[in-house]
């Protein structure tokens, strides 16, 4: 197992380098955007003198690299800096917005895994039969619909026409759990495409596994069909699905901008959108660090689990 440990250590080191690269790139890109926080703050009165004053107050007049080094030095002490526009610590921003995003992500994953696996196994079990055709064609069709279109459609039908559910989360603050109704539509939209890709991956893996000699052998020796499917065949079929699942969770945790904006959920995606519009560089960078860490850790976790599920494949750094 020391091989696995050194693999994890190497990947974490590589991850730190990757996060640093992401932060640098994001910094460079926000610098490249026209205007800065001072222009954004000056708002309706773009008086050059006023903008210059704000710029000095925010220390935006110092060279870019100096600001970056200052920010990076703070990061080493766990200080993500303060927002340029509101003056609040970036860490607070992120902590507040992480709640709704985490809630949406957790709910989605909690429904995604059982639904995806169960439908995938079901389709594989009846490969080529009507059940499989139905599942396969519906998943393909739903996968083809982008989130924003599906979101708009669901809001139109269930919120505006039928009036069953609230169209957005406006007015509920960050405590969304107290109003579960507002979560239904966003979770449905988030669920739609990942469920489809998971079903199709599990189905493909299960069809392979069910045709394998070890499944035939277990059935031959009298082990029940369900036990063979779920305990002998499924672990092998899950290896590719785990990688896909990690990508989905990563996508969910990094604030799904489209869905959060559509339903006005005050999550990380909404914060990101606002911070970019206001050229609030420290907040954008803080988000970049968080997204980077989430991505690196999730993918590493997925590789370790996949290694466990497909032990022969070995690990590649």
């Amino acid at each position: 197992m020391s091989g696995l440990r050194s693999f994890v250590a190497r990947r974490l080191l590589l991850g730190v380098a990757q996060i640093a690269a992401v932060v640098l790139l994001v910094f460079a890109l926000t610098e490249a955007l026209p205007g800065d926080a001072a222009v954004a703050l000056a708002g309706d009165q773009p008086d050059p003198a006023r903008i210059e004053a704000i710029r000095t107050a925010l220390e935006l007049d110092r060279p870019a690299w100096e600001r970056l080094v200052h920010w990076a030095a703070g990061l080493l002490h766990g200080d993500l800096g303060t927002s340029l526009t509101s003056g609040r610590p970036v860490a607070r921003y992120l902590a507040d917005a992480f709640g709704p995003t985490l809630l949406l992500a957790a709910l989605t994953v909690a429904l995604l895994v059982p639904a995806g696996v169960a439908l995938g196994v079901l389709a594989a079990r009846y490969e080529g039969r009507p059940v499989d055709r139905l599942i396969s064609s519906v998943t393909l069709a739903v996968y083809a619909v982008p989130e924003f279109a599906l979101g708009v459609l669901l809001v139109t039908v269930f919120a505006l026409r039928l009036g069953w559910l609230p169209p957005t989360a406006v007015g509920h603050g960050t405590d969304l759990l107290a109003h579960p109704g507002v979560l239904v539509l966003p979770v449905l939209v988030l669920l739609a495409r990942p469920v489809c890709s998971l079903v199709r991956l599990v189905r493909a893996g299960m069809i392979d596994a069910l045709a394998s000699p070890y499944v035939a052998h277990a059935l031959r020796y009298g082990v029940s069909g369900a036990r063979v499917r779920y305990l002998h065949a499924l672990p092998h079929a899950l290896a590719p699905a785990v990688q896909q699942l990690a990508r989905t969770i990563d996508w969910l945790l990094c604030g799904v901008v489209v869905v959060e904006t559509l339903f006005v959920v005050p999550g990380l995606g909404t914060v990101l959108l606002g911070a970019v519009a206001e050229r609030d560089v420290p907040v954008v960078q803080g988000l970049a660090v968080v997204f980077g860490v989430v991505t690196v850790v999730l993918n590493l976790g997925a590789d370790v689990i996949a290694h466990r599920l497909a032990p022969r494949a070995g690990v590649a750094a």
Binding site: Y214, V215, A218, Y221, V223, L231, H232, P235, R312
Partner: protein, 523 residues
């Protein structure tokens, strides 16, 4: 049709097959097969690959190829499923589960009568007992491993333990010794003999006559789905009635020597010095898997590399071919040091070292005609134009006994032996200086094996400039080489002329290896 289970063991008969015919799309794969399985006896079905052995063996389990039409009678008179030990035991062990997964499931079904709290411990006890009965060493540790962490022999014993746990009275063992070295083979023979001592009837499917001789009470010789001859083993060995049986027995004892008319120049083509290979992709300080201080390959000479599986034989060949680059030391081809990695070798260097793999079927693309794939070597490595390469490919293939009409087909329509010869032709088209043959004869029946070895011998004789490296665990094949190098746990323990090494081994390991290679005595 299904397997009939009958209770009671009328006159001790465990199973009987009568007039079995299995037909797919009008083509019979098995026709008129009949034999009986008796308690404590071994019934061996002998024949080349594709002779219908496995189809017959699976029929005892009540399994037939998809879409097959089945006639005849398969009667299993014992209760409970028939045990099965397939040729590749790893294939029936779920790769993502520990090897005791199925054992535990089977045991759980047998402890249902116990109170809930005692079931787990009782099941575990049964699993461990079955593993011990199947001679799995250290079951506590081994059973908690994953299939890929066990050796082929260990996997086989675990699969055997499943059958024992199930209480099978009939066990079908499909090619249990294929690809095994002498020591492991002897162990398999002992295990199967131990099964018969428990009163289990064993159906042995094999082309390995050495093992069949050691074990079989009844022999059924099959060819192209039909039984050509059957009877008690002693009678069959002493007085074979059918011509095919006689050829099979003759092929086994026949000796082809590599010395046929070869004018051997003593000039080394490849010189290996100070080779130390480590695990692929591992750290540079990782465990050493192979250490070869000095080894020369001479033109017109055949070097056999022998050793048990895992001894580093294949790693040596892979280092030479540039497929294993994690090694120190140098490999010189005609006085030039060749790069460690295949990617940095020149076309001429690539052409000079050719590799023929054990699994010929896996070495061909199943979607393109064989001859096109063979011809491609000349185009890629020698820059020949497609037309010339095609003609040359047909020529070389024909000389190896593969007619043009056959090689225009796709690999799926050729037998294992034919594909092995095609793979050889493909390597020859590069006009190699060194030909690495990795276990090219294991998994083939005696007749095909003899043909391949004869072809190789002629080749070395004809082309005096080729150095042949024959990697094998089969000492009978190694004995035909000029020189032999013996590998054990990555070290070259002995090398020298074949006669000297095999007839008068100096190293204890070689002695052990040679000792087991003699036909195992009947117990």
């Amino acid at each position: 049709m299904s397997v009939k289970h009958e209770d009671g063991t009328g006159e001790g008969l465990l199973a009987e097959v009568r007039g079995l015919r299995v037909e797919i799309e009008g083509r019979a794969i098995v026709d008129g097969v009949a034999f009986r399985v008796l308690p404590g006896r071994v019934t061996a079905l002998v024949g080349a690959s594709g002779s219908g052995k496995t189809t017959t063996g699976l029929a005892l389990l009540g399994e037939y190829p998809r879409g097959a039409r089945v006639d005849g009678e398969v009667r299993v008179t014992t209760g409970g499923p028939v045990g099965y030990v397939p040729q590749h035991p790893a294939s029936v062990l779920a790769p993502a589960r520990r090897v005791d997964a199925l054992l535990t499931d089977v045991a759980r079904m047998r402890v249902r009568h116990l109170p809930r709290g005692e079931r787990r411990a009782a099941a575990r006890a049964r699993v461990v007992r079955a593993a011990e009965d199947a001679q799995v060493e250290d079951p506590g540790v081994l059973l908690r491993r994953y299939p890929h962490q066990l050796s082929g022999g260990q996997q086989q014993r675990v699969v055997l333990a499943q059958a024992l746990l199930l209480g099978s009275r009939v066990v079908v063992a499909d090619e249990p010794t294929t690809g095994q070295d002498g020591l492991t083979k002897r162990r398999v023979v002992e295990q199967l003999a131990a099964l018969t001592a428990r009163g289990i009837g064993v159906v042995l499917l094999s082309h390995d006559l050495e093992v069949v001789r050691a074990l079989a009470d009844e022999v059924v010789v099959m060819r192209a789905g039909r039984v050509v001859e059957s009877g008690p083993a002693e009678r069959l060995w002493a007085a074979p009635r059918h011509a095919w049986t006689r050829e099979l027995l003759a092929a086994e004892g026949e000796v082809t020597s590599f010395d046929v008319g070869a004018t051997r120049s003593r000039r080394p083509v490849v010189r290996v010095r100070g080779l130390v290979a480590r695990h692929r992709g591992g750290p540079p300080s990782g465990p050493v898997v192979l250490r070869v201080p000095a080894l020369d390959l001479r033109a017109g000479e055949c070097l056999a590399v022998v050793g048990r599986s895992g001894s580093g034989k294949t790693t040596l060949a892979r280092c030479l071919a540039g497929l294993h680059r994690d090694h120190d030391g140098e490999i010189r081809l005609d006085d030039t040091v060749v790069p460690r990695s295949l990617r940095r070798r020149t076309r001429a260097q690539l052409a000079a070292v050719q590799y023929v793999f054990q699994d010929a079927r896996a070495a061909f693309d199943e979607h393109r005609p064989v001859v096109r794939q063979v011809a491609r070597t000349a185009v890629r490595l020698r820059g020949a134009d497609a037309g010339t390469a095609g003609r040359e490919a047909v020529d070389v293939l024909a000389r190896l006994g593969l007619p043009e009409e056959l090689v225009r087909r796709r690999p799926g329509e050729l037998s294992g032996g034919e594909l092995q010869r095609a793979a050889l032709a493909r390597a020859l088209l590069a006009r190699p200086r060194v030909l690495l043959c990795d276990e090219v004869t294991s998994g083939l029946d005696a007749v095909t094996r003899r043909d391949i070895v004869r072809t190789l011998a002629e080749l070395v004789g004809e082309r005096g400039d080729v150095a042949l490296v024959l990697i094998t665990h089969d000492l009978a094949t190694a004995a035909l080489a000029h020189r032999v190098a013996v590998l054990d746990a990555g070290e070259v323990v002995e090398q020298g002329s074949a006669r000297q090494v095999l007839d008068d081994p100096r190293h204890p390991f070689t002695r052990a290896l040679v000792g087991t290679a003699e036909p195992a005595a009947r117990t």
